[in-house]
Structure formats: structure tokens, C-alpha cells
Subunit: 727 residues, 2 copies
């Protein structure tokens, strides 16, 4: 059964890894796969979406809410704790079908074998709620002391973020509120429990937490349990989050765990009906792909939420909880094809943060919208000018992700236009989408320089997707995406012709009349590097082919310190052709209809051995293009690498000296793309749906659903061909 | 008497320093101030001008000829050697008036006190000749063995460069030839001696040298001496350099040391008559300034030679013996005002190397002439892409001096135009000068980008004089100099109007018709940063004022390793406002008539405390501008620093791990500029000569000569004013 992810045995060395692997979530928060008894050293987190705090000059990062699931069982004063206890058996699993995390541990102690079990889920029907049922039984009768409550002493990377804790308790409900240091956000967590037994209850507070202690004599062989309904609200949601949290937690408890769970499971069933991709003949691939889809589903902003998805999902504070181009370029396609409403929520986040992008452009002396490389709320850019630490000197290194990775704005425009085309929902354009596209195009026209002798516009001094090469000229991907942005700006203006009043008002509001002429000029004269006539190769940027043609292995062997940064001015890759991740190959994948198969094949073959895949965004793109040129066996290992990244935990955990672990939703989205758009070869063009299957050897069949506008289609693909029917 | 530079005592730790300090030369070669008995460990050198060799992939550098002065005296088989002998007294001095190096050492040994004296000079009348008289006397009668000859085992930084040694001897003449490894240049050194005594002579060769051994019994108290005429020729001078060297050495010996010396001294007297600058009231300044002028005079390409002057003069192989912008911007003014023929020789070097500059422009995809940052013969650029070594990793660091320091071409154009204007010699323009200026202007028009929104041309991604800040946009100095180049290109074309055939032919040859339109456009629209209306400050480059405003001392305190490079991507100065050397202040100095005194004062005051003066080109410029704004007391310490740099030896000896010591002709030229153009305030505009004295407190009077066109003027300046009369 390919719905269960599980691990057996204590494996304490993998505590951080399992925290990521067994993550649950509902778009509003992620809850890491840690044990109920863990403290902040084990990196538990109820990681909130779209709410950030900065401590001093450290990096700004999302807030982790107080941990409402905290529970610790003492038997005859002996803690029964996975970290320290004597363990007979332990297992942890994720039921992806129902999105439930399960834990079972058998301890051995004074009361003989003590079994603890818990089920938890992040409610998919009310995304402020986190439910748990916790049960235990003892081999011998003994006095037990159960401590359960809200632990506000949370794990932070650049914290602390929470101050001014206050406590509330009434009957079976307790609550903790705290205030964030920078902006004074209020975070409230309330927790209501129902016990299956009676005991002596005492409420106690610590410096940063509020707990109940319940003491009683547990009988041998008898099973005891309690349920917990935790509600999380912030002042971004409601004016008085404490009130709302208490109310929600109380009411959820009243509804009862069972009913909440059945609604949750029902909802997930529906999601899976629409999202699942069945693979026949490859259990391992099936599990990995499903897991990738699960990850996307727990991150999706539901219920009208208009946040986006951070690069490490909701698995913690790494990557500052910021939203990257990952969302539009790697995750959006999954939602666009299976859940267009969520896709629109993601897009709305960019529309809402347009002013932040405008401010960033202005900061650098440009016009239009220069989106944040690492976007937090209001579109402010969390990206530092010093994003890497030099391992030799321990000094911060000046990096150019923030100021030179200008392709970010094109990703935003691309996402909006793709969503508009797929959904045919013109309101997207009218409610800010067109404005964003126009402002992104304006940014490129403001950034571009005209080379009079070559009679062309150029984009100089940029960083492309391959971040190992800084400050390059005419990065093929960047120039192509900028050209695309300008093209869709012109098309968007065209598309608004039948709402002339709106169109005129928009042009007037943006003072866009002159820009339209400049766009026309750039549309004609923006330089986009073309495949070389003889070799068929597109040069990644001006002068790339003149760089030393060293192998990835040769470059790796030059490292003095395994943690040193490959890029930057003097990194081992900087003066070689070794690239971090798909760059020209990404361009060819996105615009595959514009290039011959020969060009795509030659570039794949050229760039593939030179790619280090130092980013989890890379392998899926190599898989996609390999499918496109008819080589699924080239694609397969890249697909598996992409789909398994969070299962194996084999991803980069450190950049320089900085922890960057967590989940990889872009890779998850890439796995779906590689499967559906790659192996199945799904294409939707002008309303026509086609498949061009390129199944790997052992895959007999794939089946999945897609939504196009209002209609849902069932797609079945074999090596011989495919069937598509409307449902 | 302010004509003598001397040092007493052995001071072996200063051997390298004294090699620089007591340098003699004649434009064709420099001969370091080392002792006759020294071997290559003490860095002796007969450093040749304009002839280079590369060994493997090491840096290309000038060739040191075999050392024709090598002489060692043994008394009863005991070497009398400054390095090892027992010393009673030792002194070394430079008689600047006569350009003669003198040495006197009193040893104590088996023959009692033994006195060795030598005089040497690099002939100013025949620059292939090096003369020496060597004398000795013993306190007690003893057997002496004198070894004197040609030591071909020369000091090299990136050698060896000489191979295939062959030897010749006939009567009192011996000669050594060798062939350079890369290009097969032949180097011939011949040496003819005349002895004042008789002895048993034996000729012997070593692997790389040919020597005579002369044995005899020296009588107590009697003085013995011999003279030596050394001739150096290369296959760049004549077809068979050996023949020529033998002939010249033989003939010089026949003429005799005395007559040769009197002619040499006569010639130097004339030079000093024209070049000397008298300062009354400040002996120290007088000596330092005279020493600076001496340095320039020993480097000047005389006798129609069309080489230029390397950045470390002819003091050795440091800085690859290459010619930098130093020549045009820092040395040329001295020659232009005192010896216009030499100025023209310097200019001709650039005209002759135009093709090299064209090739460099083409290499980077540009048109026109992009002169070598470090020019060797034929204008090839000796500058490496990796000019600095990282002290932490020992890896070469990618530097951008070669490809981004584009102001070099403007320096060449500036030098030509200044020379043309000063000499009114149109043949300079007709014999290549105009062509160089047009090609330099074309290079800038090819390099420039048009910013459509700002409606201006920009020079992006450059390095200005302040090399600590790499890859900056719109460096004020660079843009101004490029604008100047374009302006004089237009003027040069104007100046050629009355030779219409030549003009047409040139335009046709260069295919320059279209460029003329582009020049007109750039002349109108090239962006040159202006002083800010409120602050009066010119921003060194886009964004400079946003950098951290740290003091030089604060930045210095951040060094982890004293040898680490301040610039580059991550150097301690890179993200601060600390600059290596005069940049905006240089611009204001060169174009002082275009800016108000207030602007000049404000910028001087702003940039001065932020300047590290990590280059010897910097202090003189601060002195010049300080004089211009009427603050000679601000100028004085900078003048003294400039004028004394090679006297004190207090200059940077290492860049990273690389030895960069040697003499500093640009600083020497700067000292002259600071004195004559600064303190005396000499200006020549449209034939009119004026002075605006700003003498330092203790200077009572300055007097000097200048040549304007064919006329020589005597200038006398006091605090009250000046007198100028034609001679």
C-alpha cells in the first residue's frame, strides 16, 4: 500500500530529518514530525504561514507558534521520553491518504511495558485547528503524571521572536498569548482537552508556557486517552486572537475528535481524488510521487488564504520562510492543473505585494516592479546582500541574489499569464494581474541597456538560475524570460481592449503611454541568445563557453573545505563551465515548442554533465526536457531524485555555515511536472488536451485527473498512447 | 649640498632597498645599486627596457642582462666581500648632479686594512654603455686575485629567461651572449678592461658566465685600479648584437674612462640646467625633489628610443616591467615642460602599439583601441586575469584590472593631445596620433550603453583609479575621461580639416564615417556625474555614497592577515567608502578649470580622510588639488610623501604574496607636478604662462625652467608672486 511513510526504531540522529519528513500542515501552519514530549532542542515547530519577525539585525523569519501539542507522560515520576527512555519498540508514520501523523512507542520501565500512541492532524476543514488523540497503557498498575499544555519556549533560528507571554485557563481550556518583538503581532494558542479518565488536575505556568498536570493511578492493561483541540490565531487574522482561539478550541473539542477527523479525512479524500497520480508497475516511484503531492497539498493556501508557499514549505524557519520563484515556476503547474482556485490564491499573493516590488525597483533606481528574491509579507525582500558566509574568514560574503537575479519578476508575470490562460478567468487580469505584468515589463525596460553598435537591448550584469556565475551579461534564460514578459505585457494590453474604460484608466494610473512605445522597441530589439548554427548550443551567458571546461568532479576536488561556497567571485565553479542548476535547459523546457528537437537534445547533452544540481530545482527540469526529446530513461533517475528528496533527506543541509534543511516543495512540484508533463507528456494548447507518453521501462500505466477551466478530465496513459475523457 | 644621496654602514637588511635607491640608468637600461661582488641572491640587475620574455605560464617580465660589472677581490685567497668580510667602514652614494654611483669599503683582513672604491655610471651619451672604475689598496703587501667579468647567472622573478650562453674573449675584451627562451632575443654583453697594473691573467667560464682572474702581488699602500667599459646590445637593436657590443666596448675603452665620464657629466649638467627645480628654505624638500627628477632623467627614453617607462622604472622585473597609465598621467607632464622630445618618444610608444590595443579591444568584442593595462612590447597586455593571490586559500583571485579598467585608453589619448597642444607639433597627429585618439574614442563608443529612460550613455561595469571597488557603474573619473577622449577626437578631426586628403584617407582607412555620428551623439549624451547641488560632492560611482562610511583605520583593523588584499569582491575596503587612491580628486585636478573652488574644496575634504593611499599615485594628486584650492599646508605632507617614496623605501613591498618593490617613477613625476604645477601654480593656456604661487611656509623661493614650443623660460616664484622671462 503506497500511502504510508514510516520509520521504525528510535534513530535519534535523524530527529531533525524526521521533523521534516513527517510534517503535517494545512497551508496556515505546518507542524513538524517531532514527538509530543520534545523541547526546542529537537526542533519542534508549529510554523506559521505569512507572519514574520525580525530580532535585531538577524535575518527576518517566520514565527513559530507556541507548541500546543506538548505532552509528557511520567510513570512513577519516571519520564517516558523517546530521547531518554528504555525503548522496546518505536515507530512513526504518515498516513498520506488521510493526512494523519501517527506515533507508537513501547517503553520499558517501573510499570513494565508502557505503550504510548498518538494520532494528530492539521485540520483541512478549519486551518486554525490542530487535533490530537493521545493514548497510553501500562503493563503494571502505577501512578502516572501526565503533563500536557502549551510550550511557548519555541525553537527559533534567529529568535527569540515572542515576548510578553500571558496565560489563560478555564475548565478544560488553557491558552497562551505572546507578542512578536518587531511588529507586535499577537499570537494566541488555545488548547482544550477531553480526558477518558479522572485525575487530580493542577495548572502551572513556566516562564514561557502553561501546562496541566494530571495525576492518577493507572490500572494495569487498561487503555487511557485524551483528545486535544489546539487552535491558533494571530492578530493578522482577527482583532483579538485570544478570544477567537479559545472559542475555536472549545468548540472543536465540543464537536469531538472523531467528527473532526472524519470531516478532515473526507476533505482529503476529495483532494486525492483530484490530485492523485497512479503509476502502475513502480511502487517506489508511486510512493515518492504521492509523497510529493502530499507535500504540496499540506502547503496549499486554502479557504481563500492569499499567502504563497515558502521555499522550504512550512517545515521551519530555514530560507527565512520566504517565497521564491519556486512557487510560480515549480509549484504552480500542479495547482493550475488540479486545483485552479489555489493557483489563483498563490497569484493573488503576488498581486497584493506589488507595492513591495515597486519599492524595491525604486530602491535600485528602476521603474516598474522588481519582485523580492525572498518575499515576505507585503513583498518586502528578506534577501540579504550577504547571504553566504566565507568558511575561511568567517566573514559575510557580498552576494547578488537580491539585486541581480532579475528573472524573479518574469517568473511572477509568467505565473499570472499561465494562470490566466489556463483558467480563462479575466478577473485575474482586471484585479491586478494585468497591472503586475505591465509593471514587470516596465522594470525590464528600465533595467535594459541599448547597445548602439549591435543595435539591440541587452540585460547586463545579472545572475541567472545558475547562481554560481555572478554578474553575467545576457543570461539566455533571463533575456528570454524578460522578452516573454514584454510580450505578454503587450498581449495583456491587447486582451483589455474590450474593456476600454478599464484599460484607459490603468494606462493613465500607471502613466504607461510612453512605456508602450518602449515595449514595442524592446519587443523588436531585445537580444535573446540563439542556438549556434553549427553546434546548436545556446550559450548560457556572454563568454560562458570561454570559461574553463572542467568536470563537476574536477571542480569538486578543488574544494579546500567541504562547506565552502562554489559560487561567488572566487568559488571553485565561478571561472569554470560548471553550473549549479538547470539554466539553458530550463529555458528550453519552458519554451519547448520554439526549439527543434536537435537543439534541445544537444543542449541537454552539453549542459547535463556540467550541472552540479546544487539546487533541488534542477533535476526535475533535466527530467522534463529528457522526456520531451524522447529519452525517458535519461529522465527517470532525475525524476526519482526529485520525487525522493524529502524521503531520503539527501539534500544540502548547509550553505556555508548556515542550516538550510527542510522540505522542498519546488522539488515536489517538479516531481509532479516530470510525471504528468514529462512522462505522460500532457499538453494543453488552445483548449486542446494531448498526451505524448514517454513512460519509463517499468511503468505500465499512469492515470490522473486534470481540470481545465470548469471541466475535469480523466487521463490514462500507457506506452502505446493515452485516453482522455471528460468527467 | 643637496646633490648627494648616501648611506653609511653595511646594513645588509637593506640590500634590496638600496638596490632601488642607488639605481643608475639611461633609459636603455637601469643598473641597480648593488655591490660589484654580489650574486643573484642580492638582486643585482642590469634591467633592460622594452625587451621581455615569458617562462612557461609564469608572468612575462623584462630581461635582466648578464651583469658586466661583476668584480670580486681576493686577498691571500680571502674574499673581500661586503656580505661576509670584516668591515671597518662602508659607504655608498649617488652623485645626482653627475649621475655617478660611488662605493667605498674598508675591509680588515690578512693584509690589514683593504680599501675598495668604485665609481660607475650608465652613459648618457651612448646608452648601451656602462662604465666603471674600480680601485683598491692594501695596508700590507699581499697576493691579490681579482676576478672580474660577466656574470650571466642573473636574478629573475619568473625566470630563467636566458639560455644557450656562448662566450668570446680576445685580449682585454670578453663577451657573453645568451638567447631568450620565448622569442629568441639575443642579448650580448661585452666588457673591455684597462688595468693600472700587471698580473697573471687567466680567463675562465662558468655555466653562465665568463670571467678573468688576475693575480699579482700588491704592494702595501699603493693604489691599484682598473676601468671597465661594458656594452649591452640585443637583437632588437642590431642584427648581430655580439659584434656590436664588442665593438662598442672596445671603442669605449679606447676612448678611456676619463673622457667618457666628462662627456657623461657634461650631458647631465645640461639636463639639470633644464630640469632642476631650486627650492630655497627647505633642504629636505630640495633633496627629495631633486632625487625624484634624477629618477625621471635616468628613465627617459633618449636618443630617439621609442620605449616608454615602466611603472617600477628600470629597477627590476616587478610589475612585469610593464608600462601603465602612470606614464601619461604622472610622468609625461615633467617631460612635456622640460624635454618635449622625450615626451614625444613616450607618445610614439603608444602610437607604435596601437595594433596591440586594437587586438585587445577585439578580444573583448569591442571596436577601436583598448590599450593594455600593463603594456609590454607591441602593446600586448601583460596583465593577468588573476593578479592577486588570496592569502587565505593561496588561490589566484580573479581581478578585473585587465578587462574593466577602461580609463587606460583615455590616458593614452590624453597624453597625445596634451603633447600636441603643448608642442603644437602637428606631425604628432599626422604620424599616428590622430589615429590613436580616434580609435580610443571609438572604443568608448563601442563600450558604452545607452540608457533609454535616462536618455544618456553610460559606462557600466568598470574599475576606476580606485581599484578597491570593482565592477562599478559610471565611475566619475572614467566617464569624464571618456567624454574628454570623445571631445578631442572631434577636435582632432577638426584640426585635420586643412589637410583634407590626409583626413579623408584616415576616415576611409578607419571606416570612420558612421562613428562620427555616434561620437556626436555621445558627445551630447555621455553621462558625467556632476557635483551634487547641495553637498557639492561628486559621487565616485553609482551607489558609492550608500556604502558603509568607515574610516581607513576601522577598515584596516578588520584585516585578518596584514598581507590580504583590500579590494576584490570581499576585501575589507570593498563595501566601504574607503578608496585606494585619488579618483574624484584626480578628476578635479585634471579638469580644475571646470569646477568651482568650493566644489574642489568640498571633495578634497570628503575624499581625503577616506583615502588609503595604497598606491604611490595618490598623494601627489591630493597635494596638487590642495595647492589649487589655496591650502599648501595641506599639500606639503603629501608632496613630501610623494617625493620621498624611494628615499625612505616606505612603500608597499608586497601585494598578497607577490614582491612589488622597486622605484616609483609616477610618484617622482608626481613630486615634480606637485612642486611646479602645485606650489608654483604654473599654468600654460593658449600660449600664456602664469604662476599662482602657494608656497609652503618655509619655502622662500622656487626657481626652474620650462620649455614651451621652441622657447625656454626661467621662472622664479616667491610667496608674493612670480617672474617669468624668456631665455
Amino acid at each position: 500500500m503506497s500511502w504510508i511513510i514510516s520509520e521504525a526504531g528510535r534513530q535519534l540522529e535523524k530527529t531533525i530529518d524526521f521533523g521534516n519528513k513527517f510534517l503535517i500542515g494545512n497551508g496556515y501552519f505546518g507542524y513538524r514530525g517531532t514527538m509530543e514530549e520534545y523541547g526546542k532542542e529537537e526542533l519542534p515547530a508549529c510554523n506559521l504561514s505569512g507572519i514574520y519577525d525580525q530580532q535585531g539585525t538577524a535575518w527576518r523569519e517566520p514565527i513559530n507558534a507556541p507548541n500546543g501539542l506538548y505532552t509528557q507522560l511520567f510513570v512513577e515520576d519516571e519520564p517516558h521520553d523517546l530521547r531518554t527512555g528504555e525503548i522496546v519498540a518505536h515507530s512513526q508514520q504518515l498516513d498520506m491518504l488521510r493526512a494523519i501523523h501517527q506515533r507508537k512507542t513501547v517503553f520499558s520501565g517501573r510499570a513494565g511495558k508502557v505503550t504510548i500512541e498518538s494520532d494528530r492532524f492539521a485540520s483541512s476543514t478549519d486551518n486554525h485547528l490542530l487535533h490530537m488523540i493521545y493514548s497510553f497503557s501500562l503493563e503494571k498498575t502505577a501512578r502516572v503524571r501526565l503533563v500536557t499544555g502549551i510550550d511557548g519556549d519555541v525553537w527559533d533560528i534567529n529568535g527569540p521572536h515572542l515576548f510578553d507571554y500571558s496565560y489563560y485557563s478555564e475548565s478544560r481550556t488553557i491558552a497562551v498569548t505572546a507578542v512578536s518583538g518587531e511588529l507586535g503581532h499577537k499570537i494566541a494558542v488555545a488548547d482544550t482537552i477531553s480526558l477518558s479518565f479522572e485525575g487530580e488536575v493542577r495548572i502551572f505556568e513556566t516562564e514561557k508556557g502553561l501546562f496541566r498536570q494530571i495525576e492518577f493511578i493507572a490500572q494495569a492493561g487498561k487503555s487511557y486517552h485524551f483528545t486535544k483541540a489546539v487552535a491558533v490565531y494571530t492578530s493578522q487574522d482577527v482583532e483579538i486572537p485570544l478570544e477567537q482561539a479559545i472559542k475555536a478550541s472549545f468548540s472543536a473539542n465540543k464537536t469531538g475528535y472523531k467528527l473532526a477527523k472524519s470531516k478532515h479525512v473526507e476533505e482529503w479524500k476529495e483532494r486525492w481524488t483530484m490530485s492523485d497520480v497512479l503509476i502502475e508497475g513502480d511502487e517506489k516511484a508511486q510512493l515518492a510521487l504521492r509523497y510529493s503531492i502530499y507535500q504540496l497539498l499540506i502547503l496549499a493556501p486554502q479557504h481563500g488564504q492569499t499567502t504563497s508557499i515558502p521555499a522550504r514549505g512550512l517545515s521551519g524557519q530555514t530560507y527565512k520562510g520566504a517565497v521564491f520563484w519556486d512557487t510560480e515556476m515549480f509549484m504552480l503547474p500542479f495547482f493550475l492543473h488540479t486545483d485552479p482556485e489555489t493557483a489563483k490564491n498563490l497569484i493573488k499573493y503576488r498581486i497584493q505585494t506589488l507595492d513591495g516590488a515597486r519599492a524595491k525597483a525604486a530602491e535600485y533606481g528602476f521603474r516598474g516592479a522588481f519582485y523580492a528574491w525572498e518575499s515576505q509579507e507585503n513583498g518586502q525582500d528578506a534577501c540579504s546582500d550577504y547571504n553566504v558566509t566565507d568558511v575561511f574568514t568567517n566573514r559575510p560574503m557580498r552576494t547578488y541574489f537580491r539585486d541581480k537575479q532579475i528573472h524573479i519578476s518574469s517568473a511572477v508575470a509568467y505565473g499570472i499569464w499561465q494562470t490566466y490562460v489556463m483558467t480563462d478567468d479575466r478577473s485575474l487580469l482586471l484585479n491586478g494581474g494585468a497591472e503586475v505584468i505591465l509593471e514587470c515589463a516596465r522594470f525590464y525596460s528600465s533595467y535594459a541597456y541599448y547597445q548602439a553598435e549591435k543595435k539591440r537591448f541587452e540585460l547586463v550584469d545579472v545572475i541567472g538560475p545558475d547562481e554560481y556565475h555572478e554578474r553575467v551579461y545576457n543570461n539566455a534564460y533571463t533575456n528570454k524570460m524578460a522578452a516573454y514578459t514584454i510580450d505578454i505585457a503587450v498581449k495583456a494590453l491587447e486582451a483589455l481592449r474590450d474593456v476600454p474604460d478599464y484599460r484607459e484608466a490603468l494606462i493613465r494610473k500607471l502613466d504607461y503611454q510612453e512605456d508602450m512605445e518602449q515595449l514595442a522597441a524592446m519587443n523588436a530589439e531585445l537580444y535573446v541568445p540563439e542556438p549556434n548554427d553549427e553546434t546548436g548550443l545556446i550559450e548560457q551567458f556572454d563568454g560562458y563557453f570561454k570559461l574553463e571546461d572542467a568536470t563537476v568532479e574536477a571542480v569538486r576536488s578543488r574544494l579546500i573545505d567541504p562547506k565552502e561556497y562554489w559560487g561567488g567571485a572566487y568559488g571553485v565553479a565561478a571561472d569554470t563551465q560548471v553550473l549549479k542548476q538547470a539554466d539553458v535547459v530550463l529555458l528550453l523546457t519552458l519554451f519547448k515548442e520554439e526549439y527543434t528537437e536537435e537543439v534541445k537534445r544537444k543542449n541537454w547533452q552539453y549542459y547535463e554533465p556540467r550541472t552540479e544540481h546544487g539546487s533541488s530545482l534542477s533535476p526535475c527540469i533535466y527530467a522534463l526536457l529528457a522526456c520531451d526529446i524522447g529519452d525517458p530513461e535519461w529522465a527517470y533517475p532525475y525524476f526519482m531524485k526529485t520525487a525522493s528528496v524529502d524521503l531520503t533527506g539527501e539534500s544540502k543541509q548547509f550553505a556555508g555555515t548556515i542550516y538550510i534543511g527542510g522540505t522542498h516543495p519546488a522539488a515536489n512540484g517538479g516531481a509532479w511536472m516530470a510525471a504528468v508533463l514529462g512522462f505522460a507528456g500532457l499538453e494543453i494548447r488552445e483548449g486542446k488536451i494531448t498526451v505524448t507518453p514517454q513512460l519509463p521501462e517499468k511503468w505500465q500505466k499512469m492515470s490522473f485527473k486534470i481540470q481545465v477551466k470548469e471541466d475535469v478530465y480523466q487521463v490514462e496513459v500507457t506506452k502505446e498512447g493515452g485516453n482522455i475523457w471528460k468527467q
